[in-house]
Symmetry: C2
Subunit: 545 residues, 2 copies
């Protein structure tokens, strides 16, 4: 669906966004986006019940926000960072942008781990298949999004932020950007319509969280992952999360002083690796018996909570909390695959299966709460929603209803689910997840090469590698049927949130219907599929098995 | 000459540059680089006498600095911005880097005006020849410098700043960078070894000098020329030059607090176009009878002077002036070709001929003074020096004598000329200037396609277009001789600083010697020449006429 609203209100908007005074009518919007922060990694109850892991975290400010918010229990993002962040900016599903993996630091360099890829060759891997690989990397938009056409391996799109700026918003970027590779125009926040950019680069992680280490700024020759724009905190014990918060509050001074609506995209680098303890908070977690990795992670989380708290207090002090919408979300599920986090790998998102990188729930089901002062239906909302919904939702909040984009927008406004006014998306709307990549240099069966679709309570997981096996025509029919059964898994998420019981055999009709739905979506978007090494052709879609 | 100093002191340096405390021994270094600021655009006397234009400017702080400096009367830069800035970073002559023109905002887009070029096609011109053109653009390194190999149209080089950082310096970039086009790694100051970057991008000019205009940050879609990192001054009447100065002083806090030597590259955007009045200072110039352009320009100059004053005061207050070297310089001659500056075009650098863009003295002879507290020979120095000398000079100042670079360094340390200790470059050293480009969409006879060499008091100017005519074999010998005479001009700068009297006919031997010197240099560097449209071959070198 190509959305075009050409006429009307836009012509009446003030001429300059960042420089003119205007009487403020539009609400301020804060998008507070945390990184690698899982669904059970706070005291906030997103699920039907409070889970044991919820009890490990001390997050009073998230709790405080949740008590005035619509809390989404079935909110989704992509399995890794960049696809979510670019979906928010474009309103497109990641399979549609063809940005299905994270953008690496260096232009034209795939981050795929197939054939060693990025991981083995120090930022210059091909990502092609190695000996023994069944699948090789797809042709995806490895350079991310671009605000101008013609840049190789990018999705050209009009950004959410530019529309907000055009509509009179003062637009502020703080923290992690990670929309594009260095050496492309998309890496520059200003090119997407931000009036201010603090510390947003091509980096997907900080080199160091400590001000005492200058956030990683050491004498190395190529040091892109050192966090920029924070010299005032160098040599002090200011944690990165806190420094970014201070800078965000400083940047808010201009629009508040000028009575201009603002959009603050507050994208914390925490809680991404490196999992370094935030010593303001770490000791009590150690004292509670956590191992060092667990304590360090919990302290990073509490640092984010403190950041949120400072922001909420600031809005109160300035007397603008009543006109400021807050969206709190994460870019993907918690990382359950990194030894730095301590604990037992692949369990940290329990009751959800797996974590970051995976299209099982642990990788994609994320915290989301929205507070629209005076209009919020406070409480839990179970309707499934997804990151590309943020584009139309935020434009809806800003009153920007007259726009035309070069891209086809897939998301829908979920504002009606917050306010109770109007129609939100249907609970039966299919939501698509697509990760046609190998994530790490070693095989991760529940992460690599998975696609999925959720429709209502049902979820189909397509294991692409098994799909390739099932399409081998030289197999005996029985063997092929076994492979096909392994390729398509069906779960009822209402009854089985942990995706422990594959019920595809019991519900072949539902399995077939969802396989068709997923295939139609991917086909319609010309989604990219990994390449079958033995044939050189794209892997089959799930309805081609 | 490939300089390699492999052994010795480097191994003893502290391990981290930006993060470790150390007892300071090395001097701090401030490189104060002004933009488009001419040789006679201040009250400082660089020449043998004070010229009428010197009297138009009120620059007490430059005066104050000159009284404790070695003031160079025969200092040179390139005719336009990027070549000078990249020569400072690499130590190479611009003909050698093949970065002989300014880098445009957009990768792979030549800024040449041949065939319309950049100027006619809104950032996407080819720079190829149009009908009637004798010359087409050369194959130059239009993307600037790169800290990594393999980037098309760049000079790969180790930067001056990286060596300083490696040697323990805290390295700060403030203001205009303009080393490389957007979309290449060279555009990022951090990639060249800066610990801090404030406002340095691919931009060669600011969109606006006024804080009230947010330094150009308006709602336009592609707004790279808006100055970044200055949100704290948005909506205030803080002039850009003053805002950058405040940020520089803030950034100095860290190294001062940690007793770490610093390198501050303070690269003012002023006095480049747009020539907008700095209202702190403009009125008195209007009252003195200057036209609006002249008054606006003089006010930009006084803003730079005030910036220098704040910095000098700050160093005094912090008690570190005695250990801080200051280099004051400009990137090219004053612009005499832009109506914004008022006055009579092509005269603003009198007594020097022409201005920015030209290899006549007005375009390349620049202010340079160096103050090394306790070691300076105060007074004028007449030895000709050039921008690529800054690389070895600054390393010499920092005590970095053990380094190896991927590039061949052409410059020589001029520190002995400041301190009187050791041997500086010979006054007879040849200095080469090379501009194989058409600057503007219209013809500028004294700017376009000129090369030059200075040896002692003599200067040869090679007019490449005339050289092409002289090589046309179908001409009669007399006609060819006339063309040859027009192609090679000789001046004695001691007697004729205004280059009014071409004495090539009187001194054929000197003319021939300098033509050979210039040709040998260009040949040795594999310098790029414009293409003769009628033959498709490079234009001849001056000894090939």
């Amino acid at each position: 669906m190509k959305i075009k609203h050409l006429a009307g209100a836009a012509a009446l908007l003030p001429l300059a966004a960042c420089s003119n005074k205007a009487v403020q009518q539009q609400p301020n919007i804060v998008f507070f986006l945390v990184d690698d922060f899982g669904w059970v990694d706070s005291s906030v109850q997103y699920g039907e019940e409070l889970y044991p892991y919820n009890l490990r975290f001390n997050t009073p400010n998230m709790q405080r926000l949740s008590e005035r918010s619509t809390v989404f229990g079935n909110a989704y993002a992509c399995a890794v960072s960049t696809p979510t962040r670019t979906s928010i900016m474009t309103g497109m599903n990641a399979a549609h942008t063809r940005i299905t993996n994270w953008t690496s630091a260096v232009r034209d360099t795939p981050s795929d781990a197939t054939g060693g890829g990025f991981w083995m060759a120090e930022h210059k891997g091909s990502g092609d298949a190695a000996e023994g690989d069944v699948l090789s990397r797809p042709e995806w938009n490895m350079n991310g999004i671009s605000p101008v056409p013609g840049v190789p391996y990018t999705q050209y799109a009009n950004s959410l932020v530019q529309y907000l700026k055009d509509a009179g918003y003062f637009t502020i970027h703080v923290g992690k950007a990670h929309w594009a590779s260095a050496g492309t125009p998309g890496v520059n926040a200003y090119n997407h319509g931000f009036c201010v950019n603090i510390a947003g680069t091509m980096a997907g992680m900080p080199r160091d969280y400590s001000g005492l280490k200058n956030y990683g700024n050491t004498k190395e020759r190529w040091n892109d992952f050192a966090v920029q724009n924070l010299v005032e905190y160098y040599g002090t014990d200011t944690h990165l999360t806190d420094a970014l918060t201070s800078e965000a509050l400083k940047a808010l001074d201009y629009p508040i002083r000028h009575n201009q609506p603002f959009y603050l995209y507050m994208a914390s680098y925490a809680t991404h690796t490196p999992i370094q303890p935030d010593e303001r908070f770490a000791q009590k977690y150690r004292d509670a018996g956590m191992d060092e990795g667990q304590a360090a992670y919990a302290s990073l989380v509490e640092g984010v909570d403190a950041s949120l708290g400072r922001l909420l207090d600031f809005l109160d002090e300035k007397g603008i909390a009543d006109n400021t919408i807050i969206i709190f979300m994460t870019d993907n599920g918690g990382n359950s695959e990194n030894a730095q986090k301590g604990g037992v790998p692949h369990t940290q998102n329990k009751p959800l299966r797996e974590g970051k990188g995976s299209n099982y729930e642990g990788g994609i089901r994320v915290p989301l709460m929205i507070c629209y002062p005076g209009k919020t239906q406070v409480g839990r909302c179970g309707v499934p929603v997804i990151c590309e919904d943020m584009f139309p939702t935020i434009l809806d909040m800003a009153g920007v209803r007259s726009w035309t984009a070069v891209q086809d927008v897939d998301g829908q406004s979920i504002l009606p689910l917050v306010t109770g006014v109007g129609d939100g998306p249907s609970p039966e709307r299919p939501l698509v997840f697509h990760y046609p990549h190998k994530w790490k240099p070693y095989d991760l069966e529940d992460i690599d090469f998975l696609s999925a679709v959720r429709v209502g309570d049902w979820k189909l997981v397509y294991r692409i590698k098994e799909g390739v096996v099932a399409c081998n025509e030289r197999l005996y029919p029985d063997t092929r049927n076994t492979a096909r059964a392994k390729a398509l898994e069906l779960y009822n998420l209402r009854e089985d949130i942990g995706e422990e019981h594959n019920v595809a055999a019991e519900h072949p009709d539902i399995t077939q219907r969802l396989a068709k739905t997923l295939s139609d979506k991917l086909r319609g978007w010309n989604a990219t599929m990994p390449i079958v090494v033995s044939t050189g052709k794209p892997a089959p879609l799930p309805d081609e098995l």
